[in-house]
């Protein structure tokens, strides 16, 4: 018993420490060569100028590498944990916020906001609102056939997703190519390149969204038994569904607001988590957060060091994600799945 508690503590500490270590490590990596000792000197200076070091080094560490890494951690955690939550609530191991149309709904909302309201903070509101609308539409479209919700939900999501993407493209068509278009293009191309400390405000809704999922994580197990059984087990299913879907949508759309749409993380990270700790959402939710954060930091670091151009992060997550997804489908047929 005592040993168990100790193990538990070590695991918890590792989950929190892993992304922090990753953030720290990425400060040393990049196209610009900075000596290890110099990185430490800059870090301990607390942002003040360091004697004998060019100011470039401090800018690169504090303005280019650090905000990206921190944002990567939050965004990765948000996307992964939302994916896990959606999978549980919709009883479908194949869904994530991309498949349910949340990301494209959010991108649509943001384009709407940029074109008609000039962008800014209203982006967050609109992308959240349309993220929610997209999930609801996917869910309703999936229910038209009703009998096999596992498949029709995915189908509904694909339809809704392309519907919103079409409108986003339409907005691109009518947008002013000099002032509005670059902002719009950003929504469909996931990247952490333009993240600065100003965008850190999005961490608040991400944190709230993730918190909502985290505190109700065990209840996701019960919800995944299906509406009727969960109700018979004593759960107010509607309240928890709304709460968890709301949290997941809030976290996803806020992430989309600062990074654009980044695919695959919400799908593959929860499944890697399942292989490591099993299906119990009490453990799966925290490990998805931690893994998602580490994975996105790693992918983002790769995207900025592989070439002197930035490789779009969606390409990297897909290159890693697609073979994994195929492997997963194979596994889903047999093995631990039924």
């Amino acid at each position: 018993m005592k040993k168990n508690l100790k193990n538990n503590f070590i695991i918890k500490a590792a989950l929190i420490l892993a992304p922090l270590v990753m953030i720290f490590l990425t400060l040393f990596l990049g196209r610009y060569r900075i000596g290890i000792i110099d990185v430490f000197r800059v870090l301990f200076s607390g942002g003040r100028e360091v004697k004998g070091l060019p100011i470039e080094i401090s800018t690169i560490i504090y303005q280019l590498r650090l905000p990206r890494a921190i944002a990567g951690a939050f965004i990765g955690a948000s996307l992964a944990v939302s994916g896990a939550a959606f999978q549980g609530v919709f009883r479908n191991p194949l869904v994530n916020s991309g498949i349910l149309g949340v990301s494209s709904g959010a991108a649509f909302g943001a384009s709407l906001s940029i074109i008609f309201f000039g962008g800014g903070l209203s982006n967050y509101f609109f992308s959240f609102a349309f993220g929610i609308v997209a999930v609801l539409l996917s869910y309703l479209a999936g229910r038209i056939y009703g009998s096999t919700p596992v498949i029709t939900l995915v189908l509904g999501g694909v339809v809704v997703s392309s519907f919103f993407s079409a409108f986003t493209s339409l907005f691109k068509y009518i947008a002013d190519p000099y002032s509005e278009l670059p902002a719009l293009t950003f929504w469909t191309m996931g990247s952490l390149a333009s993240i600065g400390y100003k965008q850190f405000i999005a961490f608040i809704p991400m944190f709230i969204g993730m918190g909502m999922i985290y505190i109700s994580r065990w209840k996701i197990n019960v919800l995944s038994m299906g509406q009727k059984e969960a109700t018979a087990l004593g759960l107010d299913t509607k309240i928890y569904q709304v709460f968890i879907i709301g949290g997941a949508t809030l976290a996803t759309t806020s992430a989309v607001c600062i990074s654009g749409t980044i695919g695959w993380i919400g799908l593959i990270i929860p499944h890697i988590g399942r292989m490591l700790v099993g299906n119990d959402n009490s453990k799966l939710i925290p490990i998805s957060m931690s893994l998602g954060a580490c994975f996105l930091i790693a992918m983002d670091t790769a995207s900025r060091i592989i070439s002197s151009s930035e490789i779009p992060i969606g390409i990297l997550t897909s290159i890693v994600g697609t073979p994994f997804f195929v492997y997963l489908l194979k596994r889903t047929k047999g093995g631990g799945w039924k």
Binding site: M225, K228, K338
Partner: protein, 269 residues
């Protein structure tokens, strides 16, 4: 004996279709009611009303003497547990994790199971005799074993009443008997009341032969056609009118001289 559940003059209909009307019966502590009737006669809908998953139009359901609408969702679940007919496995949770979900009704809004819940859960697993499977993913178990897992989940709910919807569907002889014997055991040791929808009249006879107070309810065309002692309800006459089947009821004696009835199907009318 204490009355656990009382259903009086209950009616329910969907907008386009009347499902049942004027249904009345009551269930006392330690008692088993076998609810029978042809496919589509409204058994499952009746059970859903009793668990307050569906809301009846007329009549009343009282649970432990109080109208069921005075209960909160988790209070209902503290008093009624449920074993479903079909359970789709989506995520391969371990047996322990599935049984633990039975503790939902005893946890706070954002609570997680604690040491006390783990104890309840382990006891429930022990009671249905599947301790050796506790760490296994329940997706890898046989149909009979999954039913026992779901029964253990209902037990960990620690409720005085368990509602079962055709729990022996898809099970072979041995697994059916294993399941029924577990129920007999529980009924005797724990004094749990059971409301069970079933297609097999033999189940009622089996429970009776084990010395448990059993009642049979025969549902047909949205009403309770007959309710009472199994001998009275499961008669050749009733089976003929309700199912449209000619059958013969036999009486036999087991080794220890217990009387047991059985039914032989002769053909459709």
């Amino acid at each position: 004996m204490e009355e656990i559940l009382k259903v009086s003059n209950l009616s329910f209909s969907y907008p386009s279709k009347n499902i049942f009307s004027e249904v009345s019966f009551s269930l006392r502590k330690g008692e088993i009611i076998c609810l029978m009737g042809p496919n589509g006669c409204g058994k499952t809908t009746l059970l859903d009303n009793i668990m307050a998953i569906l809301h009846y139009d007329k009549g009343e359901i009282t649970l432990m003497g109080k109208p069921i609408y005075n209960y909160k969702r988790r209070e209902i679940a503290q008093n009624i547990a449920y074993v479903p007919q079909i359970h789709n496995v989506v995520f391969p949770y371990t047996v322990e994790q599935v049984v633990m979900m039975g503790r939902t009704a005893h946890l706070g809004y954002f609570g997680e199971p604690g040491p006390k819940d783990i104890e309840y859960c382990n006891k429930a697993i022990e009671k249905v005799g599947i301790s050796h499977l506790a760490k296994k993913p329940y997706s890898q178990l046989s149909g009979g074993e999954v039913k026992l897992v779901l029964l253990a989940r209902a037990l960990s709910q620690n409720s005085p009443l368990i509602v079962m919807d055709e729990p022996t569907t898809n099970l072979d002889f041995k697994n059916i008997l294993l399941f029924l014997e577990t129920i007999v055991d529980l009924s005797k040791k724990e004094n749990i009341s059971i409301l069970m929808a079933t297609h097999s009249p033999e189940h009622a006879f089996f429970f009776q032969s084990k010395g448990i107070v059993v009642k049979a309810a025969l549902m047909s065309n949205g009403i309770i056609k007959d309710f009472g002692e199994p001998e009275k309800v499961i008669s050749e006459e009733n089976i003929k009118t309700v199912y449209g089947v000619n059958a013969k009821i036999n009486t036999e004696y087991t080794e220890n001289n217990h009387k047991i009835r059985s039914i032989t199907l002769l053909g459709t009318i």
